[in-house]
């Protein structure tokens, strides 16, 4: 009976075209070639990776000089994700970490593996593990995950201003 229908489920999909703009095309081309390329703000001289929109959010000016960053970095902070959700592509529990790449002034998000979640620490030094070169695309997913380098942890003072 139609009278009984209170709710119906109607899934919606969206396909879209992404315009990278000149600011981040350098970053994407870099990834295609296995390099991590950020840009430096000509005013505050801080290095953005990724160079989002090609604009420095503090100064409002176009980012300029290309700077190769990483590949190693420091975990500033992290979350151990233990909640399942629709569309999830990574098996839980997993560590989503904010990684401050060497030479960059802002952290980026990536996955930590080859290490128990309970052993991940703020200040831990990590390095990328890349996919096979034949699978590279203009995406940060070219890096499968980051793993501990075994170097001593960075001092809190070194990354405290990035929290």
């Amino acid at each position: 009976m139609a009278d009984d229908i209170l709710r119906i489920r109607t899934p919606i999909g969206i396909d879209y075209t992404w315009s990278s703009g000149p600011g981040s095309v350098v970053y994407m081309r870099g990834l295609e070639n296995g390099k991590l390329i950020g840009r430096r703000c000509p005013d505050c001289e801080l290095v953005y990776f990724p160079p989002r929109n090609g604009i420095c959010p503090r100064c409002g000016v176009l980012l300029a000089a290309e700077v190769e960053v990483g590949p190693r970095g420091t975990i500033t902070t992290f979350c151990v994700v233990n909640v399942p959700f629709l569309g999830q592509t990574i098996k839980i529990p997993y560590v989503a970490a904010t990684i401050l790449l060497d030479g960059a002034d802002i952290g980026m998000q990536h996955l930590i593996q080859e290490c128990e979640a309970a052993d991940v620490r703020m200040g831990m030094r990590v390095e990328p593990v890349w996919k096979d070169k034949s699978e590279w695309t203009p995406s940060l997913e070219n890096i499968l995950y980051y793993k501990p380098t075994g170097e001593p942890d960075a001092d809190f003072d070194v990354y405290a201003r990035h929290l």
Binding site: C56, T76, T77, C79, V81, Y94, Q109
Partner: protein, 386 residues
């Protein structure tokens, strides 16, 4: 420019619950509106303008519901528009509505905020992979948990603080008939055993996903003076924003939040917030944000907010009761949550908060934030004219 006075003269909210399958978005909104109009002793015909707000359309999968609501709110021939500032939208919507009155433009303004989360999937909507980045995002909890970890590291707070806030808010919610969660079994010991969902955030320390709406009727001074009921006078409002990501950003205590608090207190003539504010309705979707915002808002010194929690300062019986209503931790229809804070602050100074009334509350703060802690909206309301 001198501003005109503005008062909250009507407050109406729905019961908040996981799924209101018996009503559409329009029906849910109309329920809150009818209650607010009844409280103000008005009808829709008395209203000059309508301002609505809700969180991103992706959360429900219903694009531009304001088109639909124009019918159900009888907005024919009246201005109606929508405000959007992510999770803080309930707060900024109430502020825009108040500005309609404070500018002298309108005398009776209806403002509404809502979210019907059961119509969509907010966790999915907040975890959509961004192009060319690593798909590690895991909802709002995944975004805020690393920031909570940073706060704990910086402040040296012990790990039970988050659980203490959760137990307080869930217990307060038992006194609020509209709250989504009515759970009377929480103790600190049990809360500490609650599983880590987004370590260091435990399950009990997270907000629910709710269907709900709230509406406020705002009036100019001449209209409010002629009304016999209790009012909440809007002493000041403030909004601030900042980018979600920039190098060197203080993500634990965003500068925009500090500026917003300084501004809202200055305009209300408040020099010592801890002494002069009697009740706070604070946007706390994850319990650790209570000590974090206590510091950001200037109630507690840097790195000391957690001591306020530990000492019971923010309990209903404490010197600065926070979220007597049970807060976002007990009801979270996202788009409505900010206006619920503003409306609950108004109820406190009107003396109409029922069982969760703070005795003698004369001045209250309503607070909301949204996005990656990038939008802030606040108002100070009082039982007397400013």
């Amino acid at each position: 420019m001198a501003l005109h006075r503005c008062a909250v003269v009507g407050v109406g909210q729905t019961n908040h619950t996981a799924c209101r399958g018996d009503v559409s978005i329009a029906g849910l909104v109309r329920e809150a509106v009818d209650r607010a109009l009844l409280d103000a002793n008005m009808t829709l015909a008395d209203i000059d303008a309508i301002v609505i707000g809700k969180a991103p359309d992706m959360l429900e999968g219903v694009m531009m519901p304001e088109l639909w609501l124009t019918d159900s709110l009888a907005a024919s021939g009246k201005p109606l528009f929508r405000v959007h500032t992510a999770g803080s939208v309930g707060g900024s919507t109430a502020i825009v509505a108040a500005q309609h009155v404070m500018s002298g433009l309108h005398k009776r303004v209806l403002t509404i905020a809502f979210e019907k989360q059961s119509d969509g999937n907010a966790m999915w909507a907040l975890s959509v992979p961004l192009p060319f980045s690593m798909p590690v995002h895991a909802g709002a909890g995944g975004y805020f948990s690393p920031i909570v970890r940073s706060y704990i590291r910086r402040s040296g707070a012990p790990s039970h603080i988050g659980a203490m806030v959760a137990v307080k808010d869930r217990t307060n919610a038992l006194k609020n008939p509209y709250a989504h969660l009515h759970e009377d079994h929480w103790t600190l010991e049990k809360a500490m055993e609650s599983p880590m969902l987004w370590d260091p955030i435990r399950f009990v320390e997270t907000c629910p996903s709710s269907d709900g709406a709230i509406a406020l009727v705002l009036a100019s001074e001449d209209v409010a003076d002629k009304m016999p009921g209790k009012k909440a006078w809007v002493h000041s409002t403030a909004m601030r924003s900042e980018p979600t990501m920039f190098a060197g950003r203080n993500q634990v205590s965003p500068r925009a939040g500090e500026m917003c608090a300084e501004d809202v207190f200055r305009k209300a003539g408040i020099t010592d917030p801890l002494k002069q504010i009697d009740a706070v309705e604070m946007y706390v979707p994850f319990s650790w944000f209570e000590p974090m915002w206590l510091e950001n808002l200037g109630f507690a010194p840097k790195d000391q907010g957690w001591r306020f929690v530990e000492d019971g300062v923010t309990e209903m019986t404490g010197a600065l009761p926070v979220n007597a209503s049970g807060g976002v931790l007990s009801s979270n229809p996202i788009g409505a949550s900010g206006m619920l804070r503003f409306g609950e602050a108004a109820l406190q100074v009107m003396g109409k908060a029922g069982e969760h009334q703070i005795d003698g509350a004369r001045t209250a703060l309503g607070h909301a934030y949204g996005g990656g802690s990038q939008f802030f909206a606040m108002w100070v309301v009082g039982s007397e004219k400013n």
